[in-house]
């Protein structure tokens, strides 16, 4: 009975040591994962913030480019002028067309 106990003791110690080493390894892996994930997260956050900033800059640019003041100035530089005489085309069917084509209604 005593001999059996003596044999069991080293096994138990070995088991505990193995378990501790396993847990330590696991802790190392976990810490590594956490650290790299944190770094990845930081990079993603930086990227998101950069894109947000670029988005804002582009919006500012669009606002400036789309301003009617700027468009009028640019149009003037290109030599565009306002049309003083213009013709309104009425949606009504011209009388001549109506007389020649009886299928056309008004």
């Amino acid at each position: 009975m005593k001999k059996e106990n003596k044999n069991k003791k080293p096994k138990l110690i070995f088991l505990i040591v193995t378990l501790v080493m396993l847990l330590a390894g696991l802790q190392l892996v976990m810490a590594h994962c956490l650290a790299t994930t944190g770094e990845q997260m930081r990079q993603l956050e930086d990227k998101a913030s950069l894109m947000e900033k670029q988005n804002q800059l582009l919006t500012e640019e669009i606002n400036k480019m789309g301003s009617l003041n700027r468009i009028a100035t640019e149009a003037g530089k290109l030599g565009l002028v306002k049309a003083n005489n213009f013709l309104s085309l009425t949606p009504q069917v011209p009388v001549a067309l109506e007389k020649t084509n009886i299928n056309v209604g008004r």
């Binding site: 606002n63 009617l68 213009f86 309104s88």
Partner: protein, 565 residues
């Protein structure tokens, strides 16, 4: 006995010390609790305010009228400054204040010389380009902090309508005048707060507690302003002021059926991005905050009231129009001293006949006159969503004298704002309903969109009255003094006005306010517009200044809105 004395002494001493400790603890726990808690809080928590983005103001097509731009605060960290203060000031001043570098250099020197501070702000709202230029100087101790700046892409075209963003007494951004002032609460949002535990040296503890109160950005306003019409009226008004030599002027364009403001411009104006460089007197919007005597444009309101009450008809003949009228010792004449005996009411409006209008006023009577002025919304603000609206008071009924009744018939002796006049005439254009003018049609936030519906008030004029009045106004345009300027083919209902300006209890003989009010197309009005010009020098008359400007703008609107003949 001896030992008992010692025991008792110790006992009393312990009780006394115990009491003192308890009292001190009581003091700390009860009386000084809040102060000590705050001290402890400051020792192990660090807080950052996360600023909320101010909401945008959009035109009806979604284009921004007011937006936000990235800007920077330039500051100096005094312990890190290595160069001489004079050298830094001379290098920075021309970049920070190109218009006035000497004053800026003085301010920089003064701030950099402070020995009681470690951090001093030098200039807010510096552009990205200026920041790059300063960075290239490689000055130690000069840093930047990101902030937001209000920008107005259409520059000063809508300055009076939009207002501007300044600072309140705590240095926080605050909207003043126009939409920025009226909707300041909606636009400014609520800043967020980030709280983190910190260590003894003040650095954040990475695994410490973090509390975050999310910021809520300001709401965005979608307005009824048509960007093209706004630009158009602003440009045309400037041209008109130069052409007619007027000192100031305003244009209001409104949708008569709903009261939606399509455009509102006044000149001279200011740049809302740099409002401090302009005179404060330019900040209020003249279209809603300045009152004027309307002159003959007011005749259409008096005539409408008389027609509505059946006091006169368009074909009623004036039997007192053969010469000047003397009322309460005052002689009332026509504007050109020409008289048209037995003229009809249509002709009275066409000739803008003051004596004929006195006849109408007498037919209507004092009580009905006051009743209709109130019905047209005079004497009270229109309720438009702009901060600076005011309203001149309407004289109480018991204070009306016979001469007051007579002069009000041709728009003298009564004051109103341009927007009040536009609103009153809109009721003739829309079948008799008094509408409430409005500028914002939707408020857009993260929670959703809330729509602001037009407020259509009571019917103050019968439909038949508005039709008769419209025809009289069309006739006035086609055959009146301003017929030369009218665009051919279009049916436009309108009326000219020339009012003398009251100065120190009497009317100035030289200075006038010329105006034209009208709507088009007369049969299905899409817009009602009022043009006012103050002290035009080319001619004092509305028919020769405000009317051609009105028609000039209307022609452009017809083309833009595809309104056909």
């Amino acid at each position: 006995m001896d030992s008992n004395w010692r025991v008792n002494f110790l006992l009393i001493l312990f009780i006394l010390v115990g009491f003192l400790i308890s009292a001190r603890l009581f003091y700390w726990q009860i009386f000084s609790f809040s102060d000590l808690a705050a001290l402890a809080e400051n020792q192990h928590w660090i807080s950052f305010e996360i600023p909320a983005k101010r909401g945008e103001i959009l035109a009806s097509d979604g284009a921004p009228l007011a937006s936000n731009e990235e800007a920077f605060l330039v500051f100096a960290s005094l312990p890190e400054i290595k160069d001489k203060v004079d050298l830094i000031a001379d290098k920075l001043a021309p970049l920070l204040e190109p218009d006035n570098p000497a004053t800026m250099a003085g301010l920089i020197k003064e701030r950099l010389a402070r020995s009681d501070l470690v951090w001093v702000p030098l200039k807010h709202e510096v552009s990205r380009e200026t920041k790059s230029e300063i960075e290239s100087l490689e000055l130690d101790g000069i840093g930047f902090e990101e902030e937001q700046k209000r920008s107005y892409p259409e520059a000063s075209a809508s300055a009076h309508l939009l207002g501007f963003v300044g600072s309140d007494i705590n240095g926080q951004p605050k909207g003043y005048f126009g939409l920025e002032g009226y909707y300041d609460l909606e636009l400014k949002g609520r800043p967020g707060l980030l709280r983190r535990e910190k260590d003894a040296s003040g650095k954040p503890i990475l695994i410490g507690e973090v509390e975050r109160e999310e910021e809520r950005d300001g709401r965005t306003l979608l307005t009824t302003i048509d960007r093209t019409i706004q630009y158009l009226i602003s440009e045309k008004l400037q041209e008109g002021l130069q052409r007619y030599g007027a000192s100031s002027g305003s244009v209001v364009v409104m949708e008569p059926k709903t009261g939606a403001i399509l455009g509102m411009a006044a000149w001279p104006n200011y740049n809302p991005e740099n409002y401090v460089a302009f005179d404060k007197g330019l900040y209020p919007n003249p279209a809603v905050s300045f009152s004027y005597e309307p002159g003959s444009t007011f005749k259409v309101l008096v005539m409408s009231a008389a027609l509505n009450e059946g006091a006169v008809k368009p074909e009623t003949r004036c039997d007192q129009c053969s010469g000047p009228r003397i009322i309460s010792g005052y002689t009332l004449k026509t504007w050109n001293e020409k008289y048209f005996p037995n003229s009809t009411m249509t002709e009275v409006i066409q000739h803008s006949d003051n004596v004929g209008m006195v006849f109408v006023g007498e037919k209507l009577g004092k009580e009905k006159m006051v009743e209709y002025l109130q019905k047209f919304g005079l004497g009270q603000p229109t309720g438009v969503d702009l901060e600076d609206e005011t309203s001149p008071k309407l004289r109480p009924l018991e204070e009306w004298r016979q001469i007051d009744l007579a002069t009000v018939c041709f728009g003298q002796g009564i004051a109103l704002t341009p927007l009040q006049m536009t609103r009153a005439v809109a009721s003739i254009a829309n079948g008799g309903y008094l509408v409430t003018p409005f500028v914002v049609q939707k408020v857009i936030s993260e929670e959703g969109v809330s729509e602001i519906r037009p407020k259509i008030g009571e019917q103050i004029l019968k439909s038949a009255t508005t039709m008769m009045m419209t025809e009289m106004m069309v006739n006035a345009v086609d055959n009146g003094e301003a017929k030369w300027a009218k665009p051919k083919g279009y049916r436009i209902a309108g009326k000219t006005g020339t009012a003398q300006i009251p100065v120190a209890g009497h009317y100035d003989q030289e200075k006038t306010i010329a105006s034209f009010v009208g709507f088009a197309p007369a049969d299905e009005p899409q817009f009602v517009m009022l043009v006012t010009l103050r002290e035009p020098s080319s001619s004092p008359w509305g028919a020769e200044t405000a009317a051609p400007l009105w028609f000039d703008i209307a022609k452009e609107i017809f083309t833009y809105k595809k309104i056909q003949l």
